[in-house]
């Protein structure tokens, strides 16, 4: 996605008379990545009468559940035990597939191991076996508990802060600052693993809490114990760090504290002596070091595969969504984790028409090789989900934005789409008085400007013509060594401004039968149609789209620009008729 290219022959033309608000939506602009969404992802606020994209809704967690055992986890447990399943659900530290509890003894007898059915990693590789096949998480936590814990609890408790607070330079031995650490402290610091240090710190803070109260930590004792619980549930410090991309919705919790721990770990590892580390890597070989994904998924960020531990399954959430503007609920799922029903579901698919694209010539299935400089006809179908007929006005720039603009023409930019009535209504109507035959259709009369191609109960099809430009061949470079036409330039993306006007019955709160109360509504939004890819072939080749149906790939990417969406109840038109004509019918 590069909006401007050095050395490109033609800059995207800018109409001087167009104001800032009415500027053509450029699907190639970097910002468009954040305002284009598939229609399925958009919601609709009935109170604001506006489309709501995932960026303009507010999530609220309805329930937490484990994606593996599908048990619901109460939010109090999530607060105390953290964002991981506390049953038997683990994922493989190597390949992230889920692990199963497998018996190693004869028959179904123990001891048991955690086994990955995909890469055959097992917990036996790290020397861990379980006595019983239940409550693996607790058993694992017990086994991973460092031996130093016994030392701590048996009374040899020294102030855990002493190695930390002795001197601040002690954190950063790699900086080469002269550190004054007593030999005892030095030794202490070397032998402590993060878990051990955490346990010591926990004990220390527990003591502090009972002793001096919690004032100096800036919170109540309850808050402190909650924080401690969050960190000490199953593993250690950064256990609620998320590697499932954005699903948890809980991963930012306690971010600051985690960051400090991670930083501390990293510093300690560097302090682990670089030479020693290099020597270890040399011995083990690269095959036994961890990949980036494997490493960041772990709390202690190990460098070697042997140090990897099974990952307790991250919980998932079901979330309800609110409009950010008016706070009304747009989506409310049922709280049971396994059900897919929704109590409230206001999705844009049910409110705004859907656009879809197909080739006019049904034998031309190939969208991936549009011949340059020849006219291609597409059918643009607008489907109406509403129970009222809508008037649609389409506007598109004559040339698509980008370095290599394609010429676009919509043959019939203004038309009506029928209401989404019952299917049987149409069937009954068709027998009596077929409505579709009454209207002149392009399919029958041939392609005429201002005539729709075809229409049905709640859809209308119009013809859209494009002439793709001739692009430099791939590999042709400009004087700076950049490629003249990138793969992005070959994609034909047409921004279309869709304006929908319809009259609907006024919502009546009293349930009265005032049939005459009609309200005019209007939606205007930018939509981007992906029409295909321009071929490298020269237009001289007569057999266009010779690749045949095997390469068929529907490219009906009708995305909606959330940015440009405006819904006005009978407001003044923004796109004048003349402008529409100038843009599309020539």
């Amino acid at each position: 996605m590069s909006p401007t290219k050095p050395g490109a022959p033609a800059a995207p033309e800018e109409d001087p008379d167009e104001s800032e608000e009415e500027e053509t939506f450029d699907p190639r602009a970097p910002r468009s990545n954040f305002s284009l969404f598939p229609l399925e992802n958009l919601l609709y606020c009935e109170d604001c009468k506006q489309i709501r994209c995932p960026r303009c809704v507010h999530d609220e967690i309805v329930c937490f559940f484990c994606p593996n055992c599908l048990f619901e986890v109460p939010s109090s447990t999530v607060k105390t035990d953290g964002n991981r399943c506390t049953r038997n659900c683990f994922s493989c530290p190597i390949c992230f597939a889920s692990l199963v509890v497998a018996p190693t003894g004869g028959g179904q007898a123990g001891p048991y191991i955690l086994l990955c059915n995909h890469c055959l990693w097992s917990s036996a590789e790290m020397g861990i076996e379980f006595e019983k096949p239940t409550s693996i998480a607790a058993q694992l936590a017990e086994k991973l508990k460092p031996p130093a814990l016994a030392k701590v609890t048996s009374g040899s408790f020294t102030s855990p802060l002493s190695p930390l607070s002795a001197s601040s330079e002690g954190y950063f031995p790699s900086m080469g600052a002269p550190t004054i650490i007593t030999p005892d402290d030095e030794e202490d610091k070397r032998e402590l693993s993060p878990e051990e240090r955490f346990i010591k710190l926990k004990a220390h803070y527990a003591q502090q809490k009972t002793g001096a109260g919690a004032d100096e930590y800036g919170g109540s004792p309850g808050a402190l114990s909650r924080l401690m619980g969050l960190y000490s549930g199953l593993g250690s410090g950064s256990r609620s760090r998320s590697f499932g991309r954005g699903i948890g919705g809980f991963s930012n919790m306690g971010g600051k504290g985690k960051l400090e721990w991670a930083e501390w770990d990293a510093v300690k590892e560097i302090g682990d002596d670089g030479e020693e580390l290099v020597e270890k890597i040399r011995e083990a070989g690269f095959s036994r070091t961890t990949s980036k994904e494997q490493r960041i998924a772990q709390n202690h960020q190990p460098r070697f595969i042997q140090d990897l531990k099974p990952l307790a399954a991250l919980l998932r959430t079901k979330r309800s969504k609110r409009c950010r503007a008016c706070r009304h609920i747009l989506v409310k799922p049922e709280s049971k984790p396994t059900t897919i029903r929704f109590r409230i579901k206001l999705v844009a698919m049910n409110y705004i028409p859907a656009l879809s694209i197909s080739r006019l010539d049904p034998t031309a299935f190939n969208y991936a090789a549009l011949t340059p400089l020849s006219t291609h006809q597409f059918l643009l179908t607008i489907t109406n989900p509403l129970f009222d007929p809508i008037n649609v006005t389409l506007a598109t720039p004559a040339k698509t934005p980008g370095s290599y603009p394609s010429t676009v023409t919509i043959l019939c930019p203004t038309f009506e789409v029928g209401a989404n009535t019952d299917v049987w209504d149409e069937a009954l109507q068709t027998t009596a008085n077929p409505p579709t035959t009454a209207i002149k259709k392009g399919r029958k009369t041939g392609m005429l400007i201002g005539t729709v191609w075809d229409l049905g109960r709640n859809w209308t099809t119009v013809v859209i013509e494009i002439v793709p430009p001739l692009l430099p061949l791939p590999g042709e470079l400009d004087e700076d060594g950049n490629e003249l036409a990138t793969e992005d330039d070959r994609l034909v993306q047409v921004p279309v401004s869709v304006r929908v006007v319809y009259e609907t019955d006024l919502e009546r709160d009293d349930g009265g039968l005032g049939k005459e109360a009609k309200e005019k509504r209007e939606h205007t939004y930018w939509s981007v149609l992906g029409l295909g890819r321009i071929s490298e072939k020269m237009p001289t080749t007569a057999t266009e789209d010779a690749a045949g149906p095997s390469a068929a790939r529907p490219m009906s990417l009708a995305s909606i620009a959330g940015k440009g969406v405006t819904g006005r109840g009978g407001a003044v038109e923004e796109i004048s008729g003349s402008k529409v004509n100038r843009h599309s019918v020539r």
């Binding site: 399925e40 992802n41 919601l43 559940f65 994606p67 593996n68 055992c69 599908l70 994922s91 493989c92 390949c95 992230f96 597939a97 889920s98 199963v100 004869g106 028959g107 179904q108 007898a109 990955c116 059915n117 995909h118 890469c119 499932g244 991309r245 954005g246 699903i247 998932r316 989506v331 799922p333 984790p337 396994t338 059900t339 897919i340 929704f342 579901k345 999705v347 698919m349 859907a354 879809s356 197909s358 080739r359 006019l360 010539d361 049904p362 059918l379 179908t381 489907t383 299917v423 399919r443 191609w453 075809d454 049905g456 109960r457 709640n458 859809w459 099809t461 068929a552 529907p554 009906s556």
Partner: protein
């Protein structure tokens, strides 16, 4: 009403299932098709792999149950998952299998047995995919060249991308997008997933396919092209 006797590639059953004559269906008495299900050529459905039972209990044993509006693309395979079980030694087995004797356990033997496979409604299985799941919910889209491991459980509203290999015993929760080898949940599907994954065609689409010469209208799912080929 007896099944229609057509000369075409597909046999249509009373409940509207369309089964290709070129598909391989074994143990058809153990297979239930819910209706309006389409099975394309070269599909293999292993209804013969059913639970090991005593010969007397012949009836009422379903190996594969498929719901309504399912679509099995070319060269896909449905195969019930199997594993070794520990059971009390059945009396009917004449050569006694190797016996495991616990301390105070009953006489056990290890037998290999298959588990019934259940598939919900509106399930699409892509070309060349091999499915050995124990349970697939409704509104599941499995793209082509996938492998669904033994005893996997896939809940409702799941989309599995092309070439995914799901490890055995995996559980995939609802509203998940799964990809990779091994298949892990990479994203969440929107609330409209159910509509998007429906295999039944919207009515206007059927209208279009029957009455229009020009092109396929919209493709929420790769079904239309295949149906087009069939008509």
């Amino acid at each position: 009403m007896p099944p229609k006797q057509t000369k075409g590639e597909y046999i249509e059953t009373d409940t509207g299932n369309k089964v290709s004559r070129k598909s391989v269906i074994l143990g058809s008495q153990n297979i239930i098709l819910g209706g309006k299900t389409i099975i394309q050529a070269d599909c293999t459905i292993r209804g013969d792999l059913r639970r090991t039972v005593a010969p007397s209990q012949q009836s009422g044993n379903v190996a594969i149950a498929v719901g309504r509006y399912c679509f099995l693309s070319r060269s896909s395979v449905l195969r019930p998952p199997g594993r070794t079980h520990q059971k009390p030694v059945p009396t009917y087995v004449s050569p006694r299998p190797p016996v495991v004797q616990g301390a105070d356990q009953p006489l056990l033997c290890r037998t290999f047995s298959y588990c019934p496979m259940k598939i919900g409604d509106h399930v699409f299985v892509g070309e060349g995919s091999v499915v050995e799941a124990a349970l697939i919910g409704s509104y599941v889209h499995i793209a082509k060249d996938c492998v669904i491991g033994k005893f996997a459980i896939i809940k409702d509203c799941v989309r599995i991308e092309e070439g995914t290999v799901i490890a055995p015993n995996t559980v995939i929760p609802s509203f998940s997008l799964v990809s990779g080898r091994p298949g892990v949940v990479t994203d969440e599907l929107p609330e409209t997933a159910q509509e998007g994954l429906e295999c039944r065609l919207p009515n206007y689409l059927i209208y279009n396919i029957i009455y229009m010469i020009a092109g396929v209208q919209t493709l929420t799912i790769g079904v239309v092209k295949n149906i087009y080929r069939m008509i």
